[in-house]
């Protein structure tokens, strides 16, 4: 009863409609015993931050294949901060060019998981990051 579940929001910001990756990740997190709130396509950063607040999630996963990550990701981080949710861990999936990775990690993204990533990799990363944040 009093077991603490890790809650993760999976969202697709921006305008591309390729949600297979997001669904695969959602399913893998579910199989790892997490509660996954799946919000679907075409979410604005405002919608994502609001959902993260209402659902009191531990982590937010963003799937972006449109190339708009350098606009969308900083905005989501900014809004989470404005909502006093700095504690929430943000990770990315989709297509992110190598040269953008260092800056995104510097902004506070905990991991960027492109096609072919083993699910154990992000499951363990999320578990670790959430555990540290809550301790």
């Amino acid at each position: 009863m009093s077991e603490r579940k890790i809650r993760v929001l999976i969202a697709k910001p921006g305008l591309d409609g390729h949600d297979r990756g997001a669904k695969v990740v959602a399913r893998a997190l579910r199989d790892a015993g997490m509660e996954v709130i799946y919000t679907g396509l075409r979410q604005t950063p405002e919608m994502i931050a609001e959902a993260a607040l209402q659902e009191d999630v531990d982590a937010v996963g963003l799937s972006i294949l449109s190339g708009a990550h350098m606009a969308l990701v900083p905005r989501v981080l900014e809004l989470l901060k404005a909502n006093r949710q700095e504690r929430v861990k943000v990770f990315l999936g989709g297509i992110v060019p190598d040269e953008d990775v260092p800056l995104l990690l510097k902004l506070g993204v905990i991991g960027i998981y492109g096609p072919g990533t083993l699910s154990d990799t992000y499951v363990n990363d999320i578990r670790k990051a959430v555990m540290v944040a809550n301790s």
């Binding site: 603490r4 579940k5 015993g33 509660e35 996954v36």
Partner: protein, 350 residues
């Protein structure tokens, strides 16, 4: 700031965190609930239940949207402004199932509720059942109490896709809306026990699909068995009169016969009628004293469950080490029956 103070002050982050504490059954959650409890009892709790894929989430989306901005939508607005008082703030509690194998869950009800994003008067919370089988989670009642105390005066509770026996929602909600859709079953399904019996309002959603008449007819037939209307007919050349359930109107409380409302949740058709039916049911409960009766029933259910859980916890902690496993082993070897095992365990605690 103290969590419960934050909830009462309208702090949404404090509300969200309190909901988590309550859902996780922590000591902090319990103390917040105790502080918030005197502020509860004001909200109208509306349950929305029905089989998977009947459109519960989409209906909840349209309902909340209509309650918040009744003028903004629908072709039916020609029929004039909506009647009655509208809630100031609407909360949605959407329940989806937990995997019995991994303990994880996909909570996907928000996908259908994107119209509600950006409205500060709406708060949506997804919940996993975490092992409960009755269609809602065991913490749903407590979560609803927190939202009630936070000032949400209409709370829509969406159950998991419910088959026939997921009827716990009837003990939690004041008004239970059962959602059906064309093509899901014949008229025998409609007279089976369970979910049909708990309906205060019946919805035939996806009313633009073929077969909607058949579905509505089956529901109406089932209702007619429970609430017969007076009618006369010729049988073997003799006039038969069936008086129906009508009693002398002076001394009896008005009877509530669940209305059947056709809706198309995707475009909002029928939503004003559904809202009217929900409002009428509330008025009916208030006039007949059913409101108080349901409150009592609801709190009694909660007390029972808490009492059982607490007693069970106490019982397990007082059992001698290994006694439980030993009893189970004895049962497996067919040395003792389940009843004897219980007797033995209860005796061992003394």
């Amino acid at each position: 700031m103290d969590l419960s103070q934050g909830v009462l002050a309208g702090d949404r982050l404090a509300l969200a965190r309190t909901l988590s504490q309550v859902e996780n059954g922590t000591a902090e959650g319990r103390s917040a609930l105790s502080e918030l409890f005197p502020h509860t009892g004001k909200a109208h709790l509306v349950g929305v239940t029905g089989a998977s894929g009947t459109g519960k989430s989409s209906l909840v989306n349209q309902l909340a949207r209509y309650y918040r901005q009744p003028a903004s939508i629908y072709s039916e607005r020609a029929s004039g402004p909506p009647q009655g008082e509208f809630p100031r703030q609407v909360a949605v509690v959407a329940v989806d199932p937990t995997s019995p194998f991994t303990g994880g869950a996909i909570l996907g009800d928000r996908i259908r509720m994107r119209d509600l994003a950006g409205d500060p008067g709406v708060f949506i919370r997804s919940m996993a059942t975490r092992g409960s089988l009755g269609g809602i989670a065991s913490a749903t009642a407590a979560v609803v109490q927190v939202l009630d105390a936070a000032g949400y005066d209409l709370i829509l509770i969406e159950t998991v896709g419910a088959g026939q026996s997921e009827v716990d929602i009837a003990r939690l909600a004041h008004t239970t809306v059962v959602v059906e859709a064309p093509g899901l079953g014949d008229d025998i399904q409609a007279i089976k026990a369970g979910i049909m019996e708990i309906a205060d309002v019946l919805v035939v959603n996806k009313a633009d699909l073929p077969g909607v008449e058949n579905t509505e007819h089956a529901l109406r037939g089932s209702l007619n068995l429970a609430h017969p209307l007076p009618h006369r007919f010729m049988h073997h050349g003799k006039l038969e009169v069936v008086p129906g359930q009508q009693v002398s109107p002076a001394d009896e409380e008005p009877l509530w016969v669940p209305p059947i409302v056709r809706t198309v949740a995707l475009d909002g058709t029928g939503i004003p009628k559904l809202v009217e039916a929900i409002t009428n049911h509330r008025a009916h409960l208030e006039v007949t004293g059913g409101w108080k009766q349901r409150e009592r029933w609801r709190l009694q259910t909660e007390l029972e469950i808490l009492l059982q859980n607490t007693l069970m916890e106490g019982f397990h902690s007082r059992l001698p080490t290994g006694a439980y496993e030993q009893a189970l082993e004895d049962m497996l070897a067919r040395r003792i029956s389940p009843f004897q095992a219980v007797e033995k365990l209860v005796d061992s605690v003394g």
